[in-house]
Symmetry: D2
Subunit: 239 residues, 4 copies
């Protein structure tokens, strides 16, 4: 079964910041989409903030099984309409992969109910991500751990609800740890937060990160049960 993935990104800093453009000349979304395109069975499109309807029309979402979200500098520009629309889709079963600084996106905060705040430091030192749940499909093919030579540090406390599943934990050279790959269910939808991906590092070209994101998208795309009926339920005979 084909999984239709829409890769959403702000696509702003690539224009305004030469350091970002140097790493991601075609945009962060292009690198993420290219990574997903390496996985058989995915049909990948991109969408960005400055497109009509911020790239996320009903038509786009009708054709989306899993949405990946990268944002950083323009979280507040995302409209209520788009946040409401994406939340409704997630509750109805769409998968959502929230990447790195997307922790502070309006849609992630909406779905979590918390501040989603954390500690950070742009020190460009190594991050090692460890698998803590080797039973999880999201961990497939990643080894026991992998290293990113240079990344931004994110440190605990990460103000999220208790994850349904904790798949990876990051170690940072400066002394911090972080719950880096976490899953959450909301309604019929499945959400994965994936930490790495600072805009000045070539993280989305890393083969392990690409595998991780593809695994997360495949997992989030798994279909669940029937859409529940809500509201008044008449009495009915049993058996």
């Amino acid at each position: 079964m084909t999984v239709r993935v829409t890769v959403w990104s702000e696509f702003r800093q690539e224009h305004s910041d030469a350091a970002v453009a140097a790493v991601y000349p075609d945009g962060i979304h292009a690198a993420i989409a290219a990574g997903l395109g390496e996985r058989t069975g995915f049909e990948v499109r991109t969408a960005t903030l400055d497109e009509p309807d911020q790239g996320l029309t009903d038509e786009v979402l009708d054709a989306t099984d899993v949405l990946t979200w990268w944002g950083h500098a323009a979280h507040d520009e995302v409209t209520d309409t788009v946040v409401d629309r994406v939340q409704a889709r997630v509750l109805d079963g769409m998968g959502l992969i929230v990447l790195h600084s997307g922790h502070f996106s309006r849609i992630f905060k909406r779905l979590m109910g918390t501040s989603c705040d954390l500690k950070w430091r742009e020190d460009g030192r190594p991050e090692r991500l460890w698998v803590v749940d080797p039973s999880h499909p999201i961990a497939a093919g990643l080894g026991e751990s992998f290293v990113l030579e240079a990344e931004e540090m994110y440190g605990e406390h990460f103000d999220i609800p208790r994850p349904d599943e904790l798949v990876m934990v990051s170690w940072f050279a400066g002394g911090e740890v972080f719950r880096s790959v976490c899953t959450f269910r909301r309604g019929r939808g499945r959400i994965v937060y994936v930490r790495p991906g600072h805009e000045t590092h070539p993280t989305y070209f890393d083969p392990n990160v690409r595998r991780l994101i593809a695994n997360a998208a495949a997992w989030a795309a798994e279909p669940g049960g029937t859409r529940p009926a809500y509201g008044h339920r008449p009495a009915e005979p049993i058996g």
Copy 2:
């Protein structure tokens, strides 16, 4: 240590609906507060929707360790200011006990990130609540199960995030089940959802329900760890 509980309620249907006034002549909040008042170590006050600032000023919340919330007909009247204020307090460590139709309150939906929808039927038949986690302090003194002779039915699917802890499950005479006592953490705060309490039944006079709510409030009041610092973290030597 004294636990300061504020019992909030709409206090509307008691004026507009004779059936409600007959059961709760002094208001639902008065019955809930009286139940909590039976527990040693609680200092209980009430607050209602039509008071200034909807009863929830900063002064009130400054003196509140645990807030209980009953609402039904006027959820939409609760202002953004109050929802924001209560959410911030919960994230900072205040306990919150959401009662019955409070499942559809703005604050509960804000903290859950889901629709919080469910099935319902006002059939006034028995509900039996079963303890499924006998290790939990919220289950203390309730026996293995207890019966409410007449209640409104709430049925699954209940559209909440996966609870951190599931303490009780309800059986309804008409063939439904419901996750009736659930806990959630948000930030430093602890939330308990407690199902029973339809406005036309004397549920808040029931000794088991009173014990259950008092247990939930005591549990939600337990102090946790240090308030985390968020934002930029400078590099520092380790060890």
Copy 3:
């Protein structure tokens, strides 16, 4: 990818009890295997207690991705060797589906660490199973609930560790509830407990139960991450 399922059963009461033989003339395992055989992508074999090595040689387990387990009258006859062997396989990634009275099997108690005890009554009245997690693949195709016209009652408290995921909850006509479909991870393995299936009722011919068990087996077969290395870890440079 083909999922190789081994359906294990005691296959004793079918010989000793006419009421069981009347419902399952070819054995309970035959009915379970026939149900799994309806699902594309499964390769199904059976194994029973009175076969050499209790049906579970290393050769059989080498060719098993998921093991289903039905036992009732002869739990204590299962040898340490077999229990040790199955536990080791689960920790190494084999799926395990524990059915009905298998709650009291040595292997389930070994993996849970609890008594796995419960309440029961053979009253042959209806059971209704409700989906409480519509995001879960195990719930696919089952509707919001389904009814078994006659089953044995199992009631809470069910003495298991807190499930990783609670997928279905049962309602019984006599006033009880039960956590009927639960998942657990142990090592790299995935375990699903599935409640229905008393030996005197034709439960394993029911289309919903067959779909449920097939969903559980498919879910338990999902491959996870790398086999971890344990023990001494030499110091190594990072990055």
Copy 4:
């Protein structure tokens, strides 16, 4: 309410290994007990492997609300009788705090159902423990993190069931992370695993570790619900 804590330890390496005796001349248990003795409301006794009945008679356990367990070199000497007895007490509501190398104790493996294996290295470098759940009472008074200047490294994967609650995560100087403070429920009992405490480091004299263990014991001592009845349940009228 007084919490009666029994501090159990092998008390062997203190006799056989001069490096251990130098740090813990009166035994590891004495240091742990002294730490617990600093907390108001605890009544502390000790018990060791070479006492009659391995220190854990029914009389001792009758007077124990919480048992702490430190073992390392003699796990296999603990008898079936003692393991069965302690497991039964935990299921019935006794708290259990498993310390450091106790991860490999027979009682912990019995209650977990997994290998409880992990990576390790005796490098005596710093460990930093981070609170990841600031809503948890076990985190009270510990700050956001604390450092132990020299400890043995324990690294993931730690082969335990998914914890009910993950309270702290450790960072190690060599590049590893570890889920250091985890809770589990088994029956009516509450279990906390607390990582630090290698026998050649003065960890059990550290004020933060002492506070952590005392918090864990206080949490594990919280009384829960009624002791469930198991077995046949006769039909009874509802309501």
